[in-house]
Symmetry: C2
Subunit: 455 residues, 2 copies
């Protein structure tokens, strides 16, 4: 039985280990941190950021039979509730057919996936092991034990880097000739805040939705947990007015929060303690090329292509990577290099498109959320989708509720945006959206999208 190494026991590393074990490999997973299930024993529940699973991620879980167990840990969100500065709340369903995304604690999801991986007969997981050296020729990876500082070299047929945006495997690849790489930080960072349950079995906010307090330069987002709490992320610029740097005192924090999020501030009892407990989390976009080194090494998930969380796609993309890679490994059973090549060639254009899209969308949230022209455009897009659900599919739906390649979704959206731009130039278009003329424009655009002509 051939031995492979997975660097990283996070979300993608655990799922990948299951896939690889099912393909007949002995899989050794090396994780830098402690076992994420440690708090089950200690009973100390540490807070965790939430993420949302959508169709792509769930399909990858389903293929190895763990979808339903994961869904038991999640709370479905059927739409967004937008909180205006005056406290007024607007509900926007995600889809026309009751589609939902699944809010889940990152830590709990990781623990569940660690259970699944550990339950595989051919998977072994080794914690507190930092990857300090890689030899691509052998191939082998060397790990340093955080407890003893001892190092051990592990030989394997192939080394998979599923070790996230700050991947150690990638930092070794980066030093090989002709490896293209970029890391680009977002101008804002977030701090994690908690809204505890409002009472026994009672959420502090409607649990059927993501809650968003968009304020242009900053925003608050709340995700429901299945323990009836909400996990929130407060996004602020790093520097300047109302920033992580400028808010330095409890009084300053409370003044800012009361003015910006009056209906949220009372739901966060430990606001100051949580805010000042740690520095702000940064977010970055990572691009790397190539993702594989011969047939000896492959980067996957955030290690290959970290994206901003604008569309909640980081974990979903990483899970989908596992599913797509598995298909390529199945197709090229006796030629792993060919499998890696096909996987990268087919997946890269989608992840490049998503990287750009997520930056644009975050910039839009930051810069245009109060811009009347932008709001008018968004209203027309919603109206087009209501009137012509067969012809106008919101980008968010294509990304979250289909498995259409990201690149296709982005291309369809580009054509739809051309129609919207033309509509916005017309007089009193709001009154004319429901005309045969507009339907014809959408039909022409949709035909373009079916033509399958490479752009």
């Amino acid at each position: 039985m051939s031995q492979v190494v997975v660097v990283g026991g996070g979300l993608v590393g655990c799922l990948l280990a299951v896939y690889l074990a099912r393909r007949g490999h002995r899989v050794l997973v090396f994780e830098r941190h402690e076992d994420p299930r440690a708090d089950r024993i200690s009973g100390v529940r540490r807070p965790s950021i939430n993420l949302t699973l959508c169709e792509r991620g769930l399909a990858a879980l389903e293929a190895v039979g763990v979808r339903d167990q994961v869904l038991r840990l999640a709370v479905p969100a059927l739409g967004r509730r937008i909180h205006a500065p005056d406290g007024h709340v607007t509900y926007q369903p995600y889809g026309n057919r009751g589609e939902a995304i699944q809010s889940i604690s990152r830590r709990e999801l990781n623990a569940a996936l660690m259970d699944f991986a550990s339950a595989e007969p051919n998977v072994s997981v080794h914690f507190q092991q930092k990857c300090v050296q890689v030899d691509f020729d052998r191939p082998s990876a060397t790990f340093e034990d955080a407890r003893t500082s001892e190092t051990s070299e592990v030989e394997a047929e192939c080394i998979f880097g599923a070790d996230g945006a700050h991947s150690a495997l990638r930092s070794h690849l980066q030093k090989t000739d002709r490896f293209d790489y970029s890391q680009q930080y977002w101008t804002q960072g977030y701090r994690e805040l908690t809204m505890p349950p409002a009472g026994p079995m009672r959420w502090p906010l409607a649990e059927d939705s993501l809650h968003i307090w968009p304020r242009g330069g900053y925003m608050l987002i709340g995700f429901a947990n299945h323990d009836h709490s909400f996990s929130c992320a407060l996004h602020l610029p790093f520097e300047g007015e109302n920033s992580h740097q400028s808010i330095r005192t409890e009084a300053g924090l409370m003044e800012f929060m009361r003015a910006a999020f009056p209906d949220a501030v009372g739901l966060i009892p430990n606001l100051a303690a949580e805010f000042f407990a740690a520095r702000a989390n940064s977010m970055l976009t990572v691009r790397s090329k190539p993702w594989h080194h011969g047939d000896e090494a492959l980067l996957i998930g955030d290690a290959a292509h970290a994206i901003l969380p604008s569309y909640g796609q980081g974990a979903n993309a990483g899970f989908e990577d596992c599913l797509l890679l598995d298909g390529c490994l199945e197709k090229h059973k006796h030629d792993r290099r060919a499998a890696f090549q096909e996987y990268e060639a087919s997946r890269r254009p989608s992840m490049d498109a998503m990287a750009d899209l997520c930056i644009e969308h975050f910039a839009e949230l930051r810069d245009r959320v109060a811009d009347p022209a932008f709001l008018r455009q968004k209203a027309i897009e919603r109206r087009l989708n209501e009137l012509h659900p067969d012809l106008y599919e919101p980008l968010y739906s294509m990304i979250s509720f289909t498995r259409r390649p990201y690149l296709d979704a982005v291309r369809v959206e580009r054509r739809q945006q051309e129609v919207v731009a033309r509509l916005l130039e017309m007089d009193r278009i709001e009154e004319r959206v429901d005309t045969p003329e507009v339907r014809q424009m959408l039909e022409d655009a949709a035909r373009g999208s079916d033509g399958g002509v490479a752009e």
Copy 2:
């Protein structure tokens, strides 16, 4: 006397050490490789790639009094000699007033700069010392001796990274939060070839020029040495037809070279041995941000901003960095952080513009050198400069023969290119270049450039 560390004893590291010593610092230079002057003792002259010094680099050498000594090692090139496939040679002078760039062996230049640095009373140079760890808080850097494998930690007031495109200091900065970074390799690589002297004191080609054999997908460039040899660089794609990968045998190499460079091949007696001696050299563009870490560390030269050699500016930009940094350190004598901030703020836009420009220019050489529309455009540009030398300044001249900030040169060129684009749309423009109408267009463009309006 305060102690500073310079990581890297290459071209920029040596010059920077001189500048810093003159500012009153004790300077410790740590170089990963052996002393570049070692071959003076051994008598074994290893080949070296050449580079060209222009006004920017020479001004930075002059400011510390070493310009003339360096020029004694150089051969001036007053223009380009373009070798057509049929052997026909066209001469293009670089300037209208006899301006020249200076061709020099990289190794000899490095050795000379090492002499200058070592002659400074407060500079000590330590060879075969690899930077393996950096502590930005102390600050300190740890070096491993290549001979003994022993490590030593060196504390310093400030650590300068002048250690080139693959900078070790930068790789430590890259792991700090919110450090933006990219490395992007060029699709082509080069191999070094030598044309020995044609006889005693006789160059094999006219030594007053750079020699270029542009062939679109590949090219050969020759630089005169003061020992009467020529150093050549053969640029080929890494993969595909006529590439480093496809040329695998001496017979295949000779066939390719005879067809592509018939008038050069006979001048390179050790062609096959040199070609197959090592793998092709890659070239890359490096972008990093920020260049400084508080007042404890600064990246300079290629370590901060490696660019492709399209305009021969890598070393010149690095030398000019030293001169500009020195100006900022003089202005903010008691606030190094402020000096670093001003240096980065003023220099970054120029280096960003150059990075893009050098990629565009290399792509143009590769893709458009045989394109009739491109050749027509180049002919009109030359004609405009001949007729209106006061109003149309070639980009190459602004970069090579002035100290105008790179960004200004790029902006002026953009306006000039707008005029050229408009001219190219006119009928029989070749006959009308010498009209008051065209002069007026150039005057309008030049006024725009003097308006100083931010773009």
